[in-house]
Point group: C2
DNA sequence: GATGTTTATGCGATCGATTGCACGTTGTCA
DNA sequence: TGACAACGTGCAATCGATCGCATAAACATC
């Protein structure tokens, strides 16, 4: 049954293929007489016709396809983001081309080139660094692009992010309220906006409270192993910290693992706050106190915003901030001393 | 710079566009004189030419696009599967069109129709029921399709699954070795192959050990709430069970939650075994003893197999089983009585 | 009834890459 | 030297839907 074409149903219905096209297009069918519309529809139904999106794209120049690039598909943090993007896109008749760009820019660039060759109408990058060469490619190619979760320093493209400063502020305030005053920070990579902004949030919050913000270890990736080794450095260097604010849940999980290895327990010996509230963070041991950044919502908004960019001519790049929310669970406790 | 076309570089290089096409195709360039090839390549480079995949697809009928349908993108179990599929596909120059079909067949059918209209070269369904109407659509459309994680009863399409019987056997054997003889089972939905096969695995293992396999509660979806309420029913009806073999990790997590609510603890009061070994199952409380089913590997194999189907003429449908592996963690303990 | 307007439909170019066929040139062999 | 093969390129049809323009018929207006 491969091959019911517009031509074939037009012939069968005794009309020209352009007439058939109009009859089947809900936006145009009113220009065609009802009986012809009915005849064409019936014939299309009978032959099981489906419009060939490829051919349509070639002619119109639009593919109704959006490319989404993530740095690591296996990381559970992206599932809700993709979910949000996908939901929003499909409600508008768009589909999502998901690609794992990996951690390095060269591979990401190749992937993006591939997506552009496939004539995507727009791109969502969850991979952005603070000065992202991949974004340059997208912009040069004239493809509407939005960033999600991370942003650039410059405002070259719209970004949908959480308020990283405010989020980390919430986390640190909580620890301070619990009586901690020697607090360490596991900072994210310096080339990610989340890394530096959350670190700044940490420092601001500490200073505001009149506390020293020196116990900081910078990681080079958001992962559990990175969290473990960073925590090891932190504890070796500042053995007196009683709490850790991590800039990411995976780092926090790594920290918890390191504590366990050292025979320390969380939260009895050290309090730990994560960031992002990834799926399952309520079930880990101990259930992680963290900052929820609205992953699915960011995805939705990114998609919606991208669609606006695609249709609405030239919107100014903007930064949309989703409000972070503190989530109290069991990985934090009163300072004992 | 939008619009370096084959024609434009051909003109600039002083050749016909068909010659340019051949010069740029590694498989054809040997038929063209080296100097022309060089000239065309240089010009293509200079103009930043990218072949328009859409136009090529229209002509050739192949899109190098594979549709992947999952029932719930937000479920972390699919992240590794998508990762495996994506890795394999991109290594062969294919891209992945990911769609969330939702739980019901009608919506899935609509999504699949959409994917077919986009002329995907093949489809991976992670949504299959034991007699799947959506697969019928794919087959009727003549689109190569493989099932991943779940299979049909009939062998209409190739499936890449784990050995569900064997996997559950491992789980139950483990519990029995720990001295449990009153073991309950949280069965998956009856219309999923995983639901019935794992249940059968449970029953077989119990009977093999001469134990009664009557303490079974059937769920209607794989989710934590479903696990909680199923566990509630199970404990109400068979208060003497000392262990539960769940047919899915999320069900197991739900069970743990229900225990907690009842003031029981895992594994002290009840042992629980999950299934799938989703991401983070090593970090939940307690770290979940489960059966690892090779999610990423299934994804990879599914993609590889699909590509074979796409290129290699007509392979017979087959069931490929990835071997499950028992993972011992802390949610199981010796039976106390 | 002549002119203007609306309505329904047909016509054909177009998007850009691919590919079977044809043509001219050069080289080979008897 | 004539017949034929091999090679490098050009030519033009093709994939299927879309859409501006043309046209014919129907209808309205004075």
């Amino acid at each position: 049954m491969r091959g019911a074409t517009l031509q074939s149903i037009a012939t069968a219905a005794g009309v020209h293929r352009s007439t058939a096209a109009r009859a089947l297009d809900p936006g145009q069918s009113h220009r065609i007489s009802p009986e012809v519309v009915e005849r064409v529809r019936a014939e299309a139904q009978r032959q099981g016709y489906r419009r060939d999106a490829i051919a349509a794209s070639l002619r119109t120049g639009r593919s109704r396809l959006v490319g989404v690039v993530v740095p690591d598909l296996a990381n559970p943090v992206f599932a809700p983001i993709l979910d949000g993007i996908g939901a929003q896109l499909s409600s508008e008749g768009y589909s999502m081309l998901v690609a794992d760009g990996g951690p390095d820019a060269a591979a990401q660039a190749a992937i993006v080139e591939e997506l552009i060759a496939r004539r995507v109408d727009g791109l969502v990058l969850a991979t952005a660094t603070r000065d992202d060469p991949v974004l340059t490619i997208c912009l040069n190619a004239g493809v509407p692009t939005v960033l999600v979760n991370r942003r650039e320093d410059e405002l070259r493209a719209s970004s949908i992010v959480t308020d990283d400063l405010a989020g980390m502020f919430l986390a640190v305030e909580h620890l301070i309220e619990l009586g901690h005053h020697r607090i360490g920070h596991l900072a994210g990579p310096v080339d990610f906006s989340t890394g530096v902004l959350r670190r700044k949030g940490f420092e601001d919050a500490m200073r505001t409270a009149g506390l020293a913000a020196d116990a900081v270890v910078v990681t080079t990736e958001y992962s559990r192993p990175a969290g473990r080794s960073a925590t090891a450095s932190l504890l070796d260097r500042w053995p007196d910290v009683t709490a850790i604010a991590a800039s990411n849940d995976l780092l926090a999980l790594g920290a918890i693992q390191e504590l366990k290895v050292r025979g320390l327990s969380c939260p009895a010996d050290l309090s730990i706050v994560g960031h992002n509230d990834m799926p399952l963070m309520d079930m880990v041991a101990p259930p992680l106190t963290t900052v929820q950044i609205g992953l699915a919502e960011m995805g939705e908004q990114a998609a919606r915003h991208l669609l606006d960019h695609i249709s609405g001519s030239s919107l100014k790049p903007a930064v949309l901030q989703v409000r972070p929310q503190f989530v109290l669970r069991d990985s934090t406790a009163m300072a004992s001393k």
